[in-house]
């Protein structure tokens, strides 16, 4: 080592480093180009939006979007010194898989007090539905220690509904709308209105056509899914979003995860690799 005591490096090593840097730079360029291309295809006017391309280049991995610490006061309004309890009334005939997935994600980011109740309008509920929010939290005897309450009530309701702040909000009806609300507690919607609308539109497609639609409609959605997934790793481009959660859950609810199209197959695998869908899958068995 005495040969290079002035801080000099072996020229060969330096050349190697330079070459590596060059390769990395080229790779980044390539990646950015591909991403830009994907963006133009999925959203025709993406090139007009500078913020999107800059956010894309910031290289967030799909899971990182949830990592940002959220200020519940900013999201849900002033803290009144008590538990913010989200009440969800769901019919045991149609367990809301999406919401269970979102609950799981919420638990990873907030201290959530989860409770399951059975309303007197329902006489019996299968045991797996009673334990669908996982084991009881060790601190559940002290409600004030939690940031967020997630109260799932199995009730004889025609439509799933959510009640949060009964003074200021009307009850929110429909699993899709509740899912949108819960997801916003985890991550902001894409700032690009086009992408945000795309997410919303996929959520609608999932609930109206995949979950409730005829076989014909489902086949059409599967084709649309396949082509969308041909353009990017997730339904709305490079980021895992509510669109993916909703479509995945509605697909599995119909037992059609053994879909044919290759892109859909790959996407299903990626979804499952994320590990967010554990609680929902337990219910399907």
């Amino acid at each position: 080592m005495s040969m290079y005591q002035n801080g000099d490096v072996d020229p060969a090593v330096r050349a190697l480093e330079v070459r590596q840097d060059e390769i990395m730079r080229k790779l980044y360029e390539l990646k950015a180009a591909v991403e830009g291309l994907a963006k133009t295809v999925t959203t025709p006017d993406a090139d007009l939006d500078v913020t999107v391309s800059s956010s894309l280049s910031s290289q967030s991995s799909s899971c990182d979007i949830f990592k940002a610490t959220k200020n519940l006061d900013a999201l849900l309004g002033k803290d009144l010194g008590a538990l913010r309890d989200i009440v969800i009334n769901a019919n045991p005939a149609q367990p809301p898989l999406t919401l269970l997935v979102l609950h799981n994600l919420l638990c990873q980011h907030y201290r959530v007090l989860s409770t399951v109740h059975v309303h007197s309008s329902v006489s019996s509920v299968p045991p797996q539905l009673l334990s669908c929010l996982g084991p009881k939290h060790a601190d559940s005897y002290a409600r004030h220690m939690f940031q967020l309450g997630f109260t799932l009530i199995w009730k004889n309701v025609p439509k799933l509904e959510m009640k949060f702040s009964v003074r200021n909000m009307c009850p929110i009806e429909g699993e899709a709308n509740v899912a949108r609300f819960l997801f916003k507690l985890l991550a902001p919607y894409p700032s690009d209105p086009a992408v945000a609308t795309l997410v919303d539109s996929w959520v609608d497609t999932a609930f109206y056509q995949l979950a409730d639609g005829s076989a014909k409609e489902r086949a059409a959605v599967l084709r649309a899914l396949d082509s969308a997934l041909g353009r990017g790793p997730w339904l709305c481009g490079t980021e895992f979003s509510l669109a993916d959660i909703a479509c995945y859950c509605c697909l599995s609810q119909n037992g059609s995860t053994s879909a044919t199209a290759a892109n859909v197959q790959r996407w299903i695998k990626s979804c499952e690799n994320l590990g967010h869908f554990g609680p929902a899958k337990l219910l399907l068995k």
Partner: protein, 534 residues
Amino acid sequence: MTKEEANGATEEEQQAQSKKALKKQQKEAEKAAKKAEKQAKLAAEQQSADEDDFAKDRYGVSAMVQSQQKPDRALVRVEDLTPQKVDQLIWLRARVHTSRAKGKQCFLVLRQQQFNVQALVAVGDRASKQMVKFAANITKESIVDVEAMVRKVEQKIESCSQQDVELHIERIFVISQAEPRLPLQLEDAVRPDGDGEEEGRATVNQDTRLDNRVIDLRLPKTTTSQAIFRLQSGVCQLFRDTLTKKGFVEIQTPKIISAASEGGANVFTVSYFKSSAYLAQSPQLYKQMCICADFDKVFCVGPVFRAEDSNTHRHLTEFVGLDIEMAFNYHYHEVIDSITDTMVQIFKGLRDNFQTEIQTVSKQFPSEPFKFLEPTLRLEYTEALAMLREAGVEMGDEDDLSTPNEKLLGRLVKEKYDTDFYVLDKYPLAVRPFYTMPDPNNPKYSNSYDMFMRGEEILSGAQRVHDPQLLTERALHHQIDLEKIKSYIDSFRYGAPPHGGGGIGLERVCMLYLGLHNVRQTSMFPRDPKRLTP
């Protein structure tokens, strides 16, 4: 002169009078004769009629049942009169609810508790004219024995509980005759709430009902009271069954006690030989002593006395208390879970087994069905405060809930969670009795809880202090004379397990479960500051 004149005048007058009197007498005699004649004629007719009456031994007033005979006769219950019994000849004992004669027929409605059936006596080969007349004249509420043929009806009888059949009476005997005038009109008493005002008809007010409780309890047609007290019996039975299954032991505690258990203000004093004693406000002390005596889990059903001079819709001076006390392992929520589960089992039992009674009551007193969650919703006091503040109520952190705030909170909870039953946990220590265990994390709060039904408190409970030293401290803090509660504190000196419990008022539970408005409706013979009879 004047005297004579006067005399003469009077004589004349007398004469005239006597003439008049004579005429009068004659007329009266004639009248009497005519009357006698008429009566004789009537009697003769009657006699001839009686002689003609082929059905003479098929009706009448029977001799008083003094247990002279033991006939082998099965009496069918009205509720069992279903189409399966068609064309059978049956015997039946029931009250005459109404009777309506119509030429050669007489329709009766026979009632047995909350069930009733239409019956018919018609002139024919079984019944005579006289028998129909007799049936029509039986006073309302009399008890009769009837032999009748069950017949199917073409059209449903809407006014009766047994709609598919009617009875063709072959024999009818009065077992107990009711006086013709009833102290209250049954039709008025059963009219649903609010209807009377609209139609300008009379309603029977609460006090009149209570003054004639025996008749009121029968309340025909809808027989609301019958249903209420059957349901109340159900509450008691479900309470016992559930707790017994959980391993609780039923105990009986004295009601005459030497010292007031919770503050001396509202106790009844009774003279006890040469000294005085009190009527127990709750079996609190004895329940806790049983825990110290290793009974582990106890409950007690019995009368409880409160000498509060409050005339409200929900206060009685004597009511039936359902009391629970249990030792727990580590956390008093074990007690809450046990009590709420018991309540839920009661609600479920009522929902599943007392639907007829619930519907009977709701016909007269309409209310929404009772809703609850399983497991029961538990909120903390601070959460309740936040909910109330959001609704614009200004309240201090350590203030007790006022009755209006209690009701408002009930409405808010119902709106969000759609439950009529919930637990409010962690009350401020300042508003609870001295034996309440303070919260270890925040000395401002306590390990105590209230349970609410339809926004009204039905149970107040807590973890009790089982440590004699802390108990003494708390008693001193509340400025209680230690001498008076010495025996109570002493019972914890020789090893006492941590324990908690609570007491429920049976009448209140029934009232609130059924959505009634006055606790006197669910007390059979209510006692309040103004009522000691019947």
